[in-house]
Amino acid sequence: MLELQHISYAASDEDGTKEILNDINLSVNERFVAITGPNGGGKSTLARVIAGIIKPSAGRIILDGEDITDLGITERAKKGISFAFQQPVRFKGITVYDLLKLAAGRRLTVGEACDYLSRVGMCARDYIQREVNASLSGGELKRIEIATILARGTRLSIFDEPEAGIDLWSFSNLIAVFEKMYEDINGSILIISHQERILEIADKIVVIAGGRISEQGTKDEILPRLMGGVGACGRLTAV
């Protein structure tokens, strides 16, 4: 499905050049792969590199055997990559229904749109005509963001910390969304998360720290070590 070969990324600012990603090699062939690790370790940058938002300084990205390294965001989206932002973007005047239609890339009945919203635990009729603007809370925006990924239904869906900004009450709902997505999906889910219950769904867990993959393996191999307080993911024990 997806293969990252020797991906590196360096960012420059006034303090000089900083290596954010350093020679990342990763294959995503499983149905559900979770990336975890300490904040500032490079996880979100890696997700953005895959979506085409950030261009890597070195390395190649292969999707289903095709080199997509030089393709832009739109072309990658059309080839089947979806990306849920950690901080969803607000739009004045664009309604939830409009956004779902754009995501689906086709005519969408109100019923279909409502179905996507229901799947992320939203009472559809309260939201379908709302604008995706500052009147929605952070948690509502996150769930709408996830609904747009469901509406796209692509081969590879990337989620950058879907749990961030979601209250505890909604959290169990969110887990159910991902459990169901695991059953339904015809491709792969790549998810950045600190949450043990999300990591528990994963077929493979990848730990990224200091811009490198520090370890990867099945959840049975990785989770006990993370839970044991090895230190890569201290927030795991918080929930």
Binding site: I53, A77, S82, V89, D98
Partner: protein, 307 residues
């Protein structure tokens, strides 16, 4: 009355009309009266001292609407019209105005509409105004609307004004005076492109206690167009005034927003918000991750913003 194809097209753009409207109407075409209907409660009288009409709406008229579209197809025509609306007390009416210019010639076509609204005590008025122009001639399409509003005690007026396409030059002046408990809500939407120029100036006097005004202006300036907006609210009593202008600048356009709020009474409460900026990069990126091209993303963002 019979309407030709271009007239019908312009009417559809400015008034969502698909033919002769129901209820009261006055259609002005190329500076001449092209059709009129009155009702038991709404009378329309041609002015004798200057071009234009007086509209009289009886006290207690509710759930009635009237259309007063102006269409211009004649290149080189400069049309000046005074429309005075005398709205009685305790009314609830909708007035739909609009100007459409189709200029295929080389001379400038211009419509200067001066609309005055005298809204009686405790009446509600919704006023919808839409400006549109097309035609492939080199002559400019110019519209200079002036709106004069006087709201009596307890009167409520909503004004929706839209100018999305084709008008080369516009100078818009809106003034309002509000008595006790009167409320004015203005929503302005404007898009300029090419080398178009738009000047809009609002002056709102909140004269009566517990009067309030809320002016929301959204504009998109593309290409090398220019927009200048003055939002002036004078709080002369115990009142509440809020104005908000929000503009997207694109390409090499120019936008200037000039807020002016003045408290002539210590009981006045006035707020102004203004924001000008290009489309946020994250918004474009997000829509691109949904498969839209950059140009398609921009189009969607602008269309939503002006919806």
């Amino acid at each position: 009355m019979a309407l030709d194809k271009i007239q019908l097209e312009l009417l559809r753009e400015i008034a969502d009309l698909h033919g002769v409207p129901e209820g009261a109407y006055n259609i002005r075409s190329d500076g001449q009266l092209a059709g009129r209907a009155t009702t038991a409660n709404i009378d329309i009288v041609t002015k004798t001292d200057k071009p234009g009409i007086d509209i009289y709406i009886k006290d207690g008229t509710v759930n009635e609407s009237m259309h007063i579209p102006v269409i211009i197809e004649q290149s080189g025509l400069k049309d000046l019209v005074y429309n005075d609306f005398h709205i009685g007390e305790n009314c609830d009416v909708t007035i739909i105005a609009g100007c459409g210019i189709n200029n295929c010639g080389s001379q400038d076509s211009q419509h200067d509409g001066i609309h005055s609204f005298y809204v009686g005590k405790n009446s509600r008025l919704k006023y919808v105004e839409k400006h549109y122009a097309d035609g492939d001639g080199s002559g400019e399409r110019i519209m200079n609307p002036t709106t004069v509003i006087e709201l009596a005690e307890g009167a409520y007026m909503e004004m929706d004004t839209t100018q999305i396409k084709g008008v080369d030059s516009t100078k818009r002046i809106t003034t309002a005076k509000l008595a006790e408990r009167a409320t004015l809500i203005v929503r302005e939407k404007l898009m300029t492109h090419g080398r178009q120029v738009s000047d809009s100036e609002f002056t709102i006097d909140l004269d009566g206690d517990d009067s309030s005004a809320n002016v929301i202006s959204r504009g998109v300036a593309r290409d090398s167009s220019r927009q200048v907006l003055v939002l002036r609210i004078n709080g002369n009593a115990r009142c509440y005034g809020h104005s908000e202008c929000d503009n997207i600048v694109m390409d090499s356009s120019y936008v200037q927003a000039i807020p002016e709020i003045t408290a002539n009474s210590v009981e006045a409460s006035l707020v102004h918000e203004a924001a000008i900026g290009k489309i946020a990069g994250e918004q474009i990126t997000k829509l691109m991750t949904l498969g839209l091209t950059e140009a398609e993303a921009e189009e969607q963002i602008v269309a939503g913003f002006l919806k």
